[in-house]
């Protein structure tokens, strides 16, 4: 057994997983409140990644940034969060709200349209080439820390730590504040919440803002940790984020975190070991096959996910 490889894969898995968890949280929150699958969520993430890239270039680029590196990264994440947050609010206002009482399939098709529109708008404005965050040129965080057999880039620690910090902040927001209470009430029963004086529309807008802001932050973190972004990246992260949300239990916040981590680890381990296990017949591109199998198994065996409650259909 090659322990170095295993540990390295685990580190990769945790990095990937923390990003998936952020995406899954946005999905899960929106689904919990509107019972709507936001298919455009992955593309909000992609726009966030491009906003972060724009901020990076505006502040001088990775090679000689005009501000301190920690400030640069903070500004990138904040810019992406605000931009993506407002994008999410706009999507809700223009694509979903007019369809709230429409047949179930209508907002999904609308979401498909939004997703396609965002992807191709970015393609139109920025072209199809991969854009690089050049994180390896950001001296302060490109250093590796040497822990015996394992070298961990500082940037990975920054990514995981900021993802965890955001999740903690969200957890406090949802469980300890008035806004959070309104969100939980709305997701439990929208009509009853409205009758109790909760401004449901405002709760929905807030939810979209927070969920999309998390996606935007995830986009920047992906750029920092894995360097490259392009207009189509949202597809993969959206798909994995949703899988994570389902595995964890859709609508549940700890579920989304755990699901994200789980999917990240599984994907990373599949990349490392799928060739050995199949005798070289399948290469690492087939990692999606493993994740898909897990999704199917979960849907068949435990459709409510790890933390979800079983839903009883009411007539």
């Amino acid at each position: 057994m090659d322990w170095d490889k295993l540990v390295q894969l685990l580190v990769n898995g945790v990095t990937l997983g923390s990003v998936y968890a952020l995406v899954a949280l946005g999905f899960s929150m929106v689904y919990g409140i509107l019972k709507l699958l936001n298919l455009a969520h992955g593309d909000v993430l992609m726009v966030g990644a491009f906003i972060g890239w724009g901020v990076l270039n505006w502040l001088g680029g990775a090679e000689n940034p005009s501000v301190a590196v920690w400030l640069l990264i903070t500004l990138m994440v904040l810019g992406a969060m605000i931009g993506s947050g407002f994008l999410g609010v706009a999507i809700e206002r223009f694509a979903y709200r007019p369809l709230r009482t429409a047949p179930r399939i209508a907002p999904l098709i609308s979401a498909l349209g939004v997703s396609f529109f965002l992807q191709n708008s970015v393609l139109l404005l920025f072209g199809g080439d991969f854009r690089s965050y050049d994180t390896d040129l950001l001296v302060d965080v490109a250093r590796g820390i040497d822990w015996g057999p394992l070298t961990v880039w500082v940037i990975r620690i920054v990514v995981v730590a900021s993802a965890l910090a955001m999740m903690a902040a969200l957890w406090i927001l949802v469980t300890r504040t008035r806004v959070g209470r309104a969100m939980r009430a709305t997701s439990f029963d929208r009509e009853a919440a409205a009758m109790m004086g909760v401004d449901v529309d405002r709760v929905i807008v807030t939810t979209f803002f927070i969920g999309s802001a998390l996606a935007g932050a995830a986009g920047v973190l992906i750029g920092l940790a894995f360097f490259q972004i392009n207009h189509f990246m949202g597809f993969n992260y959206g798909l994995k984020g949703f899988t994570a949300a389902v595995v964890g239990g859709i609508g549940s916040i700890p579920g989304a975190m755990l699901g994200g981590l789980l999917i990240g680890l599984i994907e990373s381990l599949s990349v490392g070991y799928i060739e050995d296990f199949t005798g070289g017949r399948l290469n690492s591109a087939f990692r999606d096959l493993v994740v898909f199998t897990i999704l199917i198994v979960f849907m068949l065996v435990r459709p409510q996910g790890i933390f979800g409650k079983r839903e009883v259909k009411k007539v």
Partner: protein, 481 residues
Amino acid sequence: MSTSTPPPEKSGIGVDQWVAEADDRRAGTIMRRVEDLIERTPPVVKMAVLLLPLVLYPLFVDSGYLMQVGIDTLVFVLLALGLNVAVGWVGLLDLGYIAFFGIGAYFYAALAAEYAGRDWGAQWALPVVVAGTAVMGFLLGLPSRRLVGDYLAIVTLFFLQLFLVVVLNARFTRGPNGISDIEPLSFFGREVTSLDGSFYVLVVAFAVVFGVLYLVNQSRTGRAWRALREDELAAELMTMPVDRLKLLAFSFGAGVAGLAGALFAAQQGAIFPSSVAIPLLITVYAMVVLGGPGSLVGVVIGAVLINASMEALQSPGEASPLFFAALVLGLAFAMRPWWRFISVLAGTIVLGFVVHALAEQFWPSLTSGTSTGEARIDDAVSNWVLLPENLITGDGLPAGAAARLMYIGLVAAVLGLTLVRNRAVRTVLLVPILYFACCVWENILLPQPSVTRFVLIGAMLVALMAARPQGLFGKQRVEII
């Protein structure tokens, strides 16, 4: 469910009565008369009307390009018809649909291509492909059948992703290089090599598929599907076998897509993974949604319209005429009374000349660029819209923040306009936004036609869902929850 006009608040008329009268209110409108006409025509006549232009098409067209466009259109029509089963009739969001198109194509290649070592005649290969893809559809449906709309969407989307992974990495599909030596269709040893021949094969396939779907829709199964779409729970309580009906719909759609894929591969002589991708999926969705989910004739017309516009948008000589014509026609259709439309149009034209003259006087650099369009209308409007210098680079991409902000500004302005409640204010605001849209079109959208058409498709899907979810020819569904 969706209504175009909200129920009146006044007490004279109850909600139930309002719903019951929904049909009467629309009795006089043109769209309604067209719908009635379509509904009243006997199916045989409908079929003949649809088929006649198809049969005559090759006789009047002698350009190879137009024949190829015709063939592609028919492939798209088949695809749209197949998608309509799941989306239009049963109301399932099947995002993996296009994978069956790919499976059909690769399956056909495995049966009839030289590299696979098998040389089945099309008369055997096609039915086997259809049956095979239908079984694949059934298998995909198995784990998904209990899932409500949303989970189903994600499982099927993941399935598409998986299909692409397999195709790109497996040995028998030759990865990204694709399979490029597929023999043309041969029925009982007679090869179909000419474009006309392929076209007629597709016409026959279309007639068969359309006929079968028409009969299915009229049958017990078809009624059960539509009942399922309206209310799954109620359908189940009426003892309809919900799971089996969904699986059947999946199989039907997959089979049709497989047939389209096989015919496409045979006609092209090749299949590549890049032929089966998200843009194709969304395009087929746009066809179904524009035509009217659930309406067979509507879906066919939607497919023809979208495919024709996609082709026109890609050729530099036709993109601008199409854009401006669509803009003017759209306005004429949407604005009542007619003098409002005329004054907006006139106002936009006048505004354009004023702005252009002012810019020429004070900021000449704003008008010194050239249009990339090649149509006559591009020459005409280049003296009317602002064409700043160096806004885009040589390969059509925006050169800097200015061009990007222009595009984003247009999107924001159009969205903002929909929020304005006051009709007069909205009409006045429409004028500068229209002019701005024309500027963005000439400067940013026109240089990149292949991306622009997908941008437009995405925007169209959102706008259609909000404004007219029943599409052009679908049945408006009135229900109040």
